[in-house]
């Protein structure tokens, strides 16, 4: 819940139930620093299922601690990062991933930045093309601004 309240500040204070303390406990951590680092990275991409918008790496909830242990167990057993995530998705559903996979149902989500940017680019290019032929270099600044005004006024 902690996360939600980062700014809920404004708002839903009545429901606030912010746990104290912090997430990963010293006794959960793996001795192997490489594995532990992988575990932390994976944890930061998995959602604490009972929290608002918090990864298991940050969450204080008992369920998050269970999943953190599970991640470390799988890693110790030799799973790749992808296998660990697949395992958890099989168990808890796509909801557990904070970064949704690129698939049909998330197509629009992932393509939004590209589509909006391209649409904007096309609109801007079309607006530019609608402008009367660009000013000739031989005109002085004053003439150009005057011309721009005249052209602008005529366009309405």
């Amino acid at each position: 819940m902690r996360r939600l309240f980062a700014l809920t500040v404004l708002a839903l204070t009545i429901f606030a139930n912010v746990p104290a303390g912090y997430a990963v406990q010293p006794d959960e951590m793996l001795a192997n620093p490489v594995l532990e680092k992988r575990a932390r990275t994976i944890s930061s991409e998995l959602r604490c299922l009972v929290c608002q918008n918090e990864s298991i790496d940050e969450s204080n909830a008992p369920l998050a601690a269970d999943i953190r242990r599970l991640v470390r167990e799988r890693l110790t057993a030799g799973d790749t990062d992808a296998q660990v995530k697949d395992y958890l998705v099989a168990r808890y559903g796509e909801f557990v991933l904070l970064k949704p996979r690129f698939e049909l149902s998330t197509l629009l989500l992932w393509l939004t930045p590209v589509l909006v940017f391209l649409a904007g680019l096309v609109l801007a290019a079309r607006a530019a093309a609608r402008q009367p032929a660009s000013e000739s270099n031989s005109l002085s600044e004053q003439e150009k601004s005057k011309l721009a005004q005249i052209l602008g006024d005529d366009q309405a």
Binding site: T8, E94, S105
Partner: protein
């Protein structure tokens, strides 16, 4: 009695708003000056009435009148006075009252200071502003009334969530709301301009100061929230891509774009239609943010369905003002005259790129925030969209923005000389590249992209300074000439300098603390020492204490640098009395290099305590950068204040010798 008085004032304010919607707009259509003039006294009395309601509620909080349901639910008699006052807006009903209060402040400000506005434009602006006020006053009175009484009154209140009992947080909502709500003025001006069917550079000149003020407050409001999260939530995170944060970030992105496009419109009469659209969209995103935060749709789609009254009401407001605004835009925009011409490589062109990237970023945040709800609503499929998604999509959009940022202000209007500008920026680029190579050579810890991010920040900062030093002919003219130029440079130029410089700092802060943060999670026993971030931290033990309304266990750490004790940090765990809730207080030691950040955890069964120790390099650049941006906005605004009184038609003014910012 005072409470009933406030309640009555709020109802009266709603009626005044209703009159202010109808008469001035009708007067503007009928060219009836008397009807139009109703707007001014109406806007002022609306402000007075809402202020009465607001302070009546505050009175109930300060006197701990628990017969008022809102006070009983959210306050407590032992709470410190400042939090009793801030408690007014620490809950749904009260914060909506603050919302309409700020809305009324802006409306009254236009009524009082907008003397140079054409009468019909002014009447229509105030009419639209009153329509927004009317909608939210109705919302407040019908679904979120803060003045409902309880009978019998409880002996004491439930208390304010202790995590919110914090000075930064107490004043965070008013700043944030001032930003949010301030964009309503841009919206009202846009709608009024569409109704008038006429828009020119003067319009942009009137709108910019309001937009700038709103932007400033939103900037500082967001950074206060982030600063609070950093030191209060106990692990040093400062941004979470949480829907509540996104709700305030979207209008900020769109508002930043609006600020820049209004600049083009004011100076060059170009991008008129786009600026109008952006003004509508920016306030719509503010409304969207209000909907996201207020409707409960966040907590879950289901809780929204359980008590949909509020959510549906705000949704209706959102649809009415966004849909209505866009419909009017679709009808009228084609009649708007297009203005000055420009080449793609020009100041205007660079500002179009700025707008394109900022609006794409806002759209990405919007879709990312709403997608899970929409998908669940449509297909029942549950997915999460969290920080990894936003970092991956938002980050790449910021890279071209940062690279183009120093170039834009150096390009000439209409037709710029890109190679020439690049040449002038050589020094900035070189400095950045040297730093980048140095980081690559010295540090192998962080991600490979991090040195590039730091370099981008340095390049932006250096670019801002170069632009300024060129304009004052630093190093080219004599000292007296340089000083004269520095003095005569318009304040808005200093505003740009500071805002862009602040962005550079912000980027450096974000990148260094994200990439080079040092973290230790361990069990420490008294007497044990840990080396972190160049400090030697010795844990001496844990003691218990008692604060005004909490008990706490605090640890004691002796912090040494180069063998000398420089400070003692006492991170603690608190348990508040009402409501009984635990919080953590981090122990933070700040220096120019970064923050040492200590958190104490639970006692361990084998003895000792769980401890988290962080070193967050340059983390304060984040808020310092935001503060500099805020100050830059203020300086620019102080310039504008003079210019608000400019002649009605911008074109009639004498051309300024100094190239406009």
């Amino acid at each position: 009695m005072v409470v009933e008085f406030g309640h009555f004032a709020l109802i009266l304010a709603m009626l005044v708003a209703a009159v202010q919607v109808v008469l001035p707009a009708a007067g503007a259509s009928l060219k009836d000056v008397r009807m139009m003039r109703v707007a001014e006294p109406a806007a002022v009395s609306q402000l007075i009435l809402i202020a009465i309601a607001f302070f009546a509620l505050m009175y109930a909080y300060v006197t701990s009148d628990f017969s008022v349901a809102n006070v009983a639910e959210n306050s407590h008699s032992t709470k410190p006075l400042i939090y009793k006052m801030a408690g007014v807006w620490g809950n749904h009903e009260g914060s909506m009252l603050l919302w309409v209060l700020i809305l009324a402040v802006f409306g009254a400000a236009v009524a009082l200071f907008g003397n140079n506005l054409p009468p019909t434009l002014k009447a229509r602006v105030l009419s639209v502003q009153a329509a927004i006020a009317l909608a939210f006053l109705l919302f407040s009175l019908l679904t979120s009334n803060p003045f409902i009484r309880l009978d019998p009154a409880p002996p004491d209140g439930n208390g304010l969530n202790p995590i919110l009992q914090d000075p930064a947080l107490a004043f965070h909502p008013p700043f944030l709301y001032t930003g949010y709500v301030g964009f309503s003025i841009a919206y009202s001006f846009a709608i009024a301009a569409l109704l008038e069917g006429r828009i020119d550079a003067a319009w942009a000149r009137w709108v910019r100061p309001w937009t700038l003020a709103a932007w400033m407050f939103l900037t500082i409001g967001i950074s206060m929230g982030s600063w609070w999260a950093y030191y209060e939530l106990g692990w040093g995170g400062w941004w979470f891509w949480d829907p509540v944060e996104n709700a305030s970030f979207m209008p900020w992105l769109a508002g930043t774009a609006l600020l820049h496009s209004a600049l083009v419109m004011e100076k060059r009469e170009a991008l008129k239609v786009w600026t109008i659209l952006l003004a509508i969209l920016t306030f719509s995103l503010s409304l969207m943010g209000t909907f996201i935060v207020r409707s409960g749709v966040l907590t879950s789609v289901h809780s929204f369905a359980v008590d949909p009254t509020r959510g549906v009401f705000i949704l209706a407001i959102l649809i009415f003002f966004t849909g209505g605004g866009l419909a009017l835009f679709a009808l009228r925009a084609k009649d708007m005259q297009t203005g000055g011409l420009f080449q793609p490589i020009s100041r205007e062109g660079s500002l179009v790129l700025n707008n394109l990237l900022l609006v794409t970023a806002a759209a990405t945040v919007l879709v990312g925030t709403l997608y899970p709800m929409a998908l669940e609503g449509l297909t029942g499929q549950k997915i999460s969209v969290g920080p990894p998604f936003f970092n991956m999509t938002f980050g790449p959009l910021m890279v071209p923005l940062l690279l183009a940022l120093p170039i834009g202000p150096m390009l000439a209007w209409k037709r710029g000389d890109l190679p020439g500008v690049m040449q002038r920026l050589t020094f900035a680029a070189l400095t950045a590249i040297i730093v980048m190579v140095a980081i690559f050579a010295l540090d192998h810890r962080g991600p490979w992209l991090a040195p590039f991010g730091i370099a981008a920040g340095i390049y932006v900062m250096a670019g801002a300074i170069i632009e300024w030093s060129e304009r004052i002919k630093f190093g080219k003219a004599g000292r007296s000439e340089v000083l004269r130029r520095a003095k005569n440079l318009p304040r808005s130029a200093y505003g740009t300098l500071l805002a862009h410089f602040g962005i550079g700092m912000l980027v450096i802060g974000i990148v260094s603390t994200s990439a080079y943060r040092e973290e230790h999670i361990l069990v420490m026993k008294p007497g044990q020492t840990l080396a972190v971030g160049g400090y030697d931290v010795t844990f001496t033990g844990v003691e218990s204490g008692r604060g005004p309304n909490y008990t706490e266990d605090f640890a004691d750490f002796d912090v040494k640098e180069d063998g000398e004790s420089i400070t003692r940090l006492k991170p603690s765990k608190r348990l508040y009395d009402a409501p009984p809730q635990p919080t953590t207080e981090a122990g933070i030691h700040a220096s120019w290099r970064g923050d040492l950040y200590l958190v104490i955890g639970d006692a361990q069964t084998g003895g000792g305590y769980a401890v988290r120790a962080y070193f967050n390099p340059l983390v304060r650049f984040i808020w310092l950068g935001a503060l500099i941006m805020f100050i830059g906005g203020g300086i620019s605004l102080s310039d504008r204040r003079l210019r608000v009184g400019a002649p009605r038609r911008a074109r009639t003014r004498v051309p300024v010798a100094v190239p406009a910012e």
